[in-house]
């Protein structure tokens, strides 16, 4: 008997050894099934059924009615993402070139707002931007007319940029800090001035960071509902607000909510695959 167990242990193709070799992955597989695959399946199921549980594509068709909101969401999220890249890129570059304590302190200062509650941060912007908020009171004190800032698309974009900027800085910083100083010095040595060092070496080498930063900002920004609710007022609803209404509002309709989520997911995936493709090309197809 012992002999047989030993044989089966030595035999790599035996069922026993197969189980042993895959055992460490089990908890993760269980996690993936319970928390990713099942919910995804449920969304697809709800999106393609009516309240009685019969198959229908009416929900998907109904989701089409919210196309204008969807496009607004994509537009605002795209603007916020571009602004994040423009702000975060030089910032991450400067931090990545600082050595030791200075660099880590600067990075921590960028991350600091993230340690505060998301809602609280957005509330803070409400009180700053309100019609009789901090900025407008200052303007009136100086004798000018107050400016309407709250409940505008600009306020929504500001909220997105402020809340998601750290998610852009971090991946950019990570890829940039991997660019060795010697590579930059090599470029200088070969005749590149500061601008050419950036365009010919730093930029192409940091593109993977740009693409993951874009994903990490664009995806949450396009589906947010709290920022638009608090800073955008009723007139600047985003697709996230519409979905929110289907589950928690008085129009309760989880089937439609699931359908809109599904459509949003497909569109985001399409957007991301385009970003990924351009990256592959600029990297000379190296990442594959």
């Amino acid at each position: 008997m012992k002999e047989r167990i030993r044989n089966s242990l030595n035999d790599k193709n035996s069922l026993f050894s197969k189980i042993v070799s895959t055992t460490p992955a089990f908890p993760y597989m269980a996690w993936a099934i319970v928390f990713i695959a099942v919910p995804l399946g449920l969304i697809v199921y709800f999106a393609l059924t009516d309240t009685a549980g019969n198959f229908t594509i009416a929900n998907i068709a109904a989701a089409g009615e919210h196309m204008s909101v969807l496009f607004r969401s994509i537009k605002l999220a795209a603007i916020a993402t571009v602004l994040c890249v423009l702000i975060a890129y030089p910032m991450a570059y400067i931090i990545s070139r600082k050595k030791g304590v200075t660099g880590s302190t600067l990075l921590m200062l960028c991350m600091l707002p993230m340690w505060m509650n998301f809602l609280l941060r957005t509330y803070a912007w409400m009180t700053i931007l309100e019609n009789n908020g901090l900025i407008n009171r200052l303007i009136m004190l100086l004798g000018f007319e107050p400016i309407r800032m709250i409940n505008t698309q600009g306020a929504v974009i500001l909220g997105m940029v402020y809340n998601y900027l750290p998610f852009m800085i971090l991946p950019l910083y990570t890829t940039m800090s991997k660019i060795g100083n010697d590579v930059i010095e090599a470029a200088q040595d070969l005749g590149a001035n500061s601008i050419k060092v950036i365009t010919k070496v730093v930029l192409p080498l940091s593109l993977p960071g740009v693409s993951s930063g874009v994903t990490m900002v664009f995806v949450p920004a396009v589906s947010t509902f709290i920022i638009s609710k608090m800073l955008g007022g009723g007139t600047n609803q985003l697709i996230g607000d519409i979905i929110d209404l289907q589950f928690l509002g008085n129009t309760y309709n989880p089937n439609l909510g699931s359908a809109i989520s599904l459509v949003l997911m497909v569109i985001v995936l399409l957007c991301m695959s385009i970003v990924g493709d351009t990256e592959d090309e600029t990297m000379g197809g190296r990442i594959k």
């Binding site: 010697d182 001035n193 190296r286």
Partner: protein
């Protein structure tokens, strides 16, 4: 090597923010078409000196001249100098062709000319046909060649090489040494080479600059440095040496290991304490009864060309290189010719 001076360092001092002096006043003239090597242990300031010439570091004090013109503060991209970096520093996002072409592309040279020059350069470093390879598909030696081609294509007056062969295995290193010497001779440009490998320095250079603690100890041809080291540190760093305490009786006579020896050095004070330096290959093994020094053989190691024999005599471990083996534990005699006894002033204690 030409007579005119191409690069000149005048009392160059580099001090870090914490007050630590990396270079303590370097004076050095480098000739046109010369192969100069900075040799020294790590932390001696050789790489810092190279970085000052390349423009990657600025001297705290002192001046640097290139072809007679002061170039303090001139950024690297405006200097007619190129560098082969320690770990090659190739651009990972570019293939071999684009790496080599980088400098010419920055200068916006005509594409056809670039293509022709890259082809020539790759031929020079024996990498023809590697144009479209990715950098990470190359071996260490091949990456090294790309780095050299990438620097040389800009036709610099000076090529700086910062321990370029450090990451290669022995056989490849030997091949690359020969190849670098060939390239330097055929292109007729100045090479400034940094290494801590004394053998590499002796093999390749026209002149060797031995450095220690931010100072130059000795400048000379490989023969000068090997045969006439200025002090025991240089002697010990350039090849293996026996360094023994001795006393100078008078000119041409020194006492060490309890014996008086004739020597060829003079000009020391009466009874001055000195370092006596003897190369391991200069010790003549003989009969213990007739030789001035005798001792017991402690170990014998076969090294290929010679045996490395350690002998315990008069409180020192003597290192001998001999083509003849000895029995461990045997009593043997040792003698040295007067011309092989090198007398050096005691180094000041730092």
């Amino acid at each position: 090597m030409k007579e005119n001076i191409l690069i000149s360092l005048k009392n160059v001092i580099v001090e870090f923010e914490d007050g630590h002096r990396v270079l303590k006043g370097i004076d050095l003239d480098i000739h046109d078409e010369e192969f100069v090597t900075f040799l020294g242990p790590s932390g001696c300031g050789k790489t810092t000196t190279l970085r000052i010439i390349g423009g990657f570091a600025e001297p705290t004090e002192g001046d640097i001249f290139f072809d007679g013109v002061k170039i303090n503060g001139v950024p690297p991209y405006k200097r007619n100098i190129n560098t082969v970096f320690q770990r090659y520093a190739l651009f990972p996002h570019l293939n071999v062709f684009d790496n080599v072409a980088f400098g010419l592309n920055v200068k916006k040279m005509d594409k056809k000319i670039i293509a022709r020059k890259v082809k020539e350069m790759l031929a020079l470093v024996n990498l023809s046909g590697f144009e479209n390879r990715n950098i990470n598909q190359l071996s260490g030696g091949q990456q090294q060649r790309v780095a050299i081609a990438r620097a040389l294509i800009n036709e610099p007056k000076v090529l700086l090489l910062d321990e370029p062969l450090g990451a290669l295995d022995l056989k490849l290193r030997k091949d690359m040494q020969t190849e670098l010497m060939r390239i330097q001779k055929s292109l007729k440009i100045t090479f400034i080479y940094v290494t801590h490998d004394q053998e590499e320095a002796l093999t390749m250079s026209d002149r060797v600059v031995v450095m220690r603690d931010g100072q130059i100890l000795q400048i000379g041809t490989p023969q000068d440095i090997y045969n006439e080291p200025v002090n025991a540190f240089v002697a010990d760093f350039i090849g293996e040496s026996n360094i023994i305490d001795g006393v100078m009786y008078e000119d041409y006579e020194v006492e060490f290991a309890g014996q008086a020896f004739k020597c060829v050095d003079k000009g020391f004070a009466l009874n001055e304490r000195v370092d006596v330096v003897i190369r391991p290959e200069d010790i003549i093994v003989g009969d213990y009864e007739t030789s001035p020094i005798s001792g017991v053989v402690e170990s014998v190691v076969f090294k290929g060309v010679h045996y490395e024999i350690t002998v315990d005599a008069h409180g020192y471990k003597w290192l001998i290189h001999s083509t003849q083996s000895q029995e461990v534990g045997a009593l043997i005699g040792m003698n040295v010719k007067p011309s092989d006894i090198h007398i050096m002033k005691k180094m000041e204690v730092r």
